[in-house]
């Protein structure tokens, strides 16, 4: 109830901002996407997602007049940096950019993204899973199309759990105990790795039902000391007892650890299978997927981790054409192309389709893992929102909360420090901090 009220407030405040954004590209906005595709033209797209290449090729084959330049302008923050630079310089801005959900509000509040509701996105309510759809809906405006999603699950190395005689945890309490048991049975094994990851921490808060970031137009209220700190109950003992592998995610040591079984599980988004297949090939057949551990036994609460949208930039002079491609890639034939290449969908039709649910993952020993992911997607906790400057906030996570991992402080104190710096930055940037 509480967050409905807040969303409404936010809607009003951002609607004002998006009107201005709309006014800037009303010429493109009035055009019909199908007609634009017919007429042809050139598009520049910045994205790092590997499956998009095939989508672009298929789209070009279907629309002969359209020429798309797909540029990998860097992964994640590197690309945001480039995009912000280009926007600031007012030149070299692509028509379409891949933007992760947590970064969408930041670009939306800076009015860097076009409102695509009038181009047809307004009719798509219900097409996408609620988590991703909420992320691209900024008030009345729709500033992007969900490309994929990351409902969370626990990936675990069943062979290791079996060998060491440890039961797969279903609650966070069991998880801590399993971490201890695994370590006791084999000192080289850790239940998972962590060195402080803002994305994971915020997802854990999300799953626990906390809403640390309340955003209402340009008023921001941050509360990282209340409900949000609950995840520390689980994480702090794991740090204190040195049960985490002190390995940073995505490093060579991380892949090596998943490959040789010393990292026994990863709780993350449903896009993970493709990474496991290429990064931990030796462990094929050993891994399985289980629902995320729960706060209450028998619960099914979940959260999103990662996932990106495709957005049309406010500077694009080809908004209608860009939208036509977006539609193709995120709701049209492009979806199947991307699913075939291993991507995880954000569209409800695919999440519910029998064909999708029946897919057997060879890597997971034939398990129909999509069923776990689809359940997770349906159980993502409502009401979460990111800060309008989450990219910056995440960049200082390790300066504050991260220090708990190297023994200088605790997660709870780290969260307080994080909040302090988030507030200070917000104030400096002209937000009203409550």
């Amino acid at each position: 109830m509480k967050h409905h009220h807040r969303t409404a407030l936010r809607a009003g405040a951002i609607a004002g901002a998006s009107l201005i954004a709309l006014a800037g590209c009303s010429a493109g906005g009035a055009e019909d996407p199908d007609a634009a595709a017919e007429a042809g033209g050139e598009l520049t797209i910045w994205a790092w997602e590997p499956t998009l290449e095939a989508v672009v090729e298929a789209y070009e084959a279907e629309n002969e007049g359209v020429d798309i330049e797909l540029v990998n302008a860097g992964t994640g923050n590197d690309q945001y940096t480039a995009l912000q630079n280009a926007i600031q310089a007012g030149s070299g801005v692509p028509d379409v950019a891949q933007i992760e959900y947590f970064a969408v509000p930041q670009f939306a509040i800076a009015e860097s993204l076009a409102d695509i509701s009038d181009l047809g996105a307004a009719d798509l309510d219900g097409t996408f899973a609620p988590g991703p759809w909420n992320a691209v809906s900024q008030g009345d405006a729709i500033v992007g199309m969900p490309m994929d999603s990351g409902p969370m699950a626990m990936f675990y190395n069943e062979a290791v759990f079996e060998r060491l005689g440890v039961a797969v945890p279903t609650t966070w309490e069991e998880y801590v105990q399993a971490a201890r048991d695994l370590r006791a049975a084999d000192p080289s094994v850790s239940i998972t790795n962590d060195t402080g990851d803002a994305g994971l921490a915020t997802s854990l808060m999300w799953q626990s039902g906390a809403e640390p970031f309340a955003v209402d137009g340009t008023t921001v209220a941050v509360d990282l000391e209340g409900d949000a700190a609950r995840y520390a109950e689980i994480w702090q003992p794991l740090i204190d007892e040195e049960l985490f592998a002190p390995v940073t995610s995505w490093s060579d040591e991380w892949f090596a650890g998943m490959n040789d079984g010393t990292i026994a599980s990863i709780t993350t988004g449903a896009w993970m299978p493709a990474n496991l297949e290429t990064g931990a090939p030796d462990a094929a057949g050993d891994w399985r997927v289980a629902p995320m551990p729960q706060w209450e036994a028998g619960g099914a609460a979940s959260a999103e981790n990662g996932g990106s949208s495709l957005a049309v930039t406010a500077d694009s002079e080809q908004a209608a054409l860009a939208y036509d491609f977006l539609e193709y890639a995120t709701t049209g034939d492009g979806v199947q192309i991307r699913l075939d290449a291993g991507a995880f969908p954000a569209t409800t039709a695919d999440l519910e389709s029998q064909e999708f649910l029946d897919v057997e993952f060879e890597y997971f020993g034939g398990q129909q893992a999509n069923q776990v992911f689809a359940d997770s997607s349906a159980n993502v906790v409502d009401g979460w929102s990111y800060l309008p400057y989450q990219v910056y906030a995440n960049s200082i996570f390790n300066d504050t909360v991260g220090q708990a991992y190297v023994g200088d402080t605790t997660i709870v104190d780290g969260l307080a420090a994080w909040q302090e710096q988030i507030d200070a930055y917000g104030e400096e940037q002209g937000f009203t901090i409550e």
Binding site: W48, V71, G74, N85, A86, S91, A256, G279, G307
Partner: protein
């Protein structure tokens, strides 16, 4: 860290060409010293230093022969089960439609134009400072040396915004233009020109009525040879290793130099669906340093004599 600077015993005061020629002509290595007894402890000490510097390169060489699986599972300083060097090289060259080759060509372009241009500008400028007295000369020196102290990384944004305004970001020009300036190259050529070109030689040519350009080209250039080679080598290293500037300026991988390309390979595993290719990063790194090392070995006679600036003059 620090960029190229080579200094034949000079600072603060103007590089001196006034030392008695007789003294300078009689350089080191008299017969008596060449045949000195070798010291075993000293050699061992140097051996330790050599192990320290070569160990990482050996590590790189060994690991370039491994498959990704062996990379994760075998001891770093010995070979894995499978000798996959040639396979790795083949995959590096083929990966992403052979983009590694494109990066190599880009790097060569940046080196030839950037380092070549930087050397030319530094040679002309160093010669001017060493051999001419004109208004603003001391100011120019002070400004160049002072500007070196400003951290380049923090100037990247202003530079980027300026370049964006004139529309050259994401083009080779954005990488080449800034690499045309080598303050250290200027400094070296200043010192070198002071030491190796006698004022009398220039005066004599002027009396003969030769134009300044002609004096520079046919009288002075030959004397500056070793210095030019040295500056060229150091600017080549600087351009070959250039990382930060292209990182900011370039968005299209088609224009990446090797350094940025390799880093992007290293980062590409960090995303949903990304392909982890640490084996290719390692082999690619090896391929990226081989040309430079080869160049050093081939040209070492030149740059070593260039470094020992004073000793060139007979």
């Amino acid at each position: 860290m620090s960029a190229p600077v080579i200094v034949p015993g000079v600072t603060g005061r103007r590089p001196s060409s006034l030392r008695p020629t007789s003294e300078r002509a009689r350089r080191r290595r008299p017969a008596g010293m060449r045949h000195r007894r070798r010291s075993v402890p000293l050699t061992i000490l140097m051996g330790v230093a050599v192990v320290y510097t070569l160990l990482p390169l050996v590590w790189l060489l060994i690991n370039a022969t491994k498959t990704q699986a062996d990379l994760f599972s075998t001891f770093g300083l010995w070979f894995g089960g499978e000798f996959a060097l040639f396979d790795n090289i083949g995959r590096v060259l083929a990966y992403g439609d052979g983009i590694f080759g494109r990066w190599l060509l880009n790097t060569l372009l940046y080196v030839v134009v950037g380092a070549g241009g930087a050397t030319l500008l530094a040679t002309l400028g160093g010669y001017a400072i060493a051999k001419f007295r004109f208004r603003g000369r001391s100011a120019a020196i002070a400004v160049v040396l002072g500007a070196v102290a400003i951290p380049g990384t923090a100037l990247a944004v202003p530079t980027f915004l300026m370049f964006a305004r004139i529309g050259i970001t994401d083009t080779p020009l954005a990488v080449i233009l800034p690499s045309l300036i080598s303050p250290f190259g200027l400094y070296l050529m200043w010192v070198f020109a002071s030491e190796s070109i006698p004022d009398e030689l220039i005066e004599a040519a002027r009396v003969d009525g030769a134009s300044e350009l002609r004096i520079f080209a046919s009288v002075c250039m030959p004397l500056l040879g070793p210095g030019i080679v040295t500056v060229l080598l150091f600017t080549t290293v600087a351009t070959w290793n250039n990382y930060f500037l292209p990182l900011i300026m370039l968005r299209n991988p088609d224009w990446y130099p090797l350094t940025i390309g390799l880093n992007s390979w290293n980062n590409q595993a960090t995303t949903a669906g990304g392909d982890a290719i640490f084996d290719l990063v390692i082999t690619g790194s090896l391929l990226a340093i081989i040309p430079l090392i080869a160049l050093f070995l081939l040209l070492q006679r030149f740059w070593q004599s260039g470094l020992a600036a004073g000793s060139v003059k007979e």
